[in-house]
């Protein structure tokens, strides 16, 4: 019998693979640019704000998807979502990015639920943080990261999971 840890690691690998595929699909559909995860880098823009969007995952697997970028790169995504036109109002940026995260995580949930043949996960509304020197820490989850660099900027998809233990209660 397989070690429980190995089973979970294999499951989390599958979930992460499907989440990466979802991000690549959504970027292609929104921006028209095909991207692939490559390398490793940090996003610490000088004189620019970091931007992180968090979406919670609940269901048989708990966790969160974190999309890290900068405000400037986020603006590029928002313009692409606005069919190439500049935003009428700068304050709309968070509205656009929240929906971008919702589309990405909704696609991930779709692929994951179809792969597992049941309602494996559900997603919660996004929360957006922008600040200088922003660090978001999520203890007690197994975290995996994918790094993307394209014409619109740099993006890090950080996905953390933990198996639901509600049946212990």
């Amino acid at each position: 019998m397989e070690n429980t840890t190995e089973v979970l690691e294999s499951k989390f690998d599958t979930l992460f693979g499907l989440a990466k595929r979802s991000f690549e699909e959504i970027m292609l559909e929104v921006t028209g640019e095909a991207i692939q995860a490559d390398g490793e880098f940090s996003i610490q823009p000088e004189n620019r704000l970091s931007l992180s969007i968090i979406i919670g995952i609940s269901g048989n697997t708990n966790g969160r998807i974190l999309l890290n970028t900068s405000v400037d790169y986020g603006k590029n995504i928002a313009v692409a979502m606005n069919f190439g036109d500049p935003l009428e109002n700068e304050e709309d940026l968070h509205v656009y990015l929240a929906e971008f995260a919702n589309m990405f995580c909704g696609r991930a949930a779709t692929h994951i639920n179809n792969a597992f043949g049941k309602r494996e996960i559900w997603i919660s509304p996004p929360a957006i943080f922008s600040a200088k020197d922003l660090d978001i820490v999520t203890p007690n989850v197994s975290s995996m990261k994918a790094y993307y660099e394209c014409s619109l900027g740099k993006f890090i998809v950080d996905m953390g999971f933990s198996e639901n233990t509600y049946d212990e209660f």
């Binding site: 959504i26 709309d92 509205v95 909704g106 949930a109």
Partner: protein
């Protein structure tokens, strides 16, 4: 005469995107409901020709709203416009009576084609 579409979605972005996608067409956005309950009230007020309906919303989700919309008008035309589209969810939606589906993100031409399909 313009045909009317009602957008029921908790994201203001979707309302903006649908409005922009339909500029210069014979479709007019008749209103925006930010949750299922408000969407039903907007439908009663506008009697839109087609509704775009999100699934995950506060107060009342899209599936519950669709059930009530079909009670109000069994012939109501609904396009489920959602970021989620797994088979379990689609089957639930089909059981309720929803026949048209569009996954976010969408391009203007795709939305226009889907509206035309639902309107027929």
């Amino acid at each position: 005469m313009s045909k009317k579409v009602l957008v029921i979605d908790d994201s203001p972005f979707v309302f903006k995107a649908v409005s922009k996608a339909l500029e210069g067409t014979d479709w007019e956005v008749a209103g925006h409901g930010l949750d299922g309950q408000l969407g039903i009230e907007k439908y009663i007020e506008t009697r839109a020709d087609v509704i775009t309906l999100d699934v995950t919303m506060p107060v009342m989700d899209g599936l519950e709203a669709a059930k009530k919309l079909f009670e109000i008008n069994p012939k109501v035309k609904i396009i489920m416009l959602s970021a989620m589209g797994d088979e379990t969810l689609l089957n639930q939606a089909r059981t309720i009576g929803i026949k048209h589906f569009l996954t976010k993100p969408f391009q203007p031409a795709t939305l226009q084609a889907k509206l035309a399909e639902a309107f027929e």
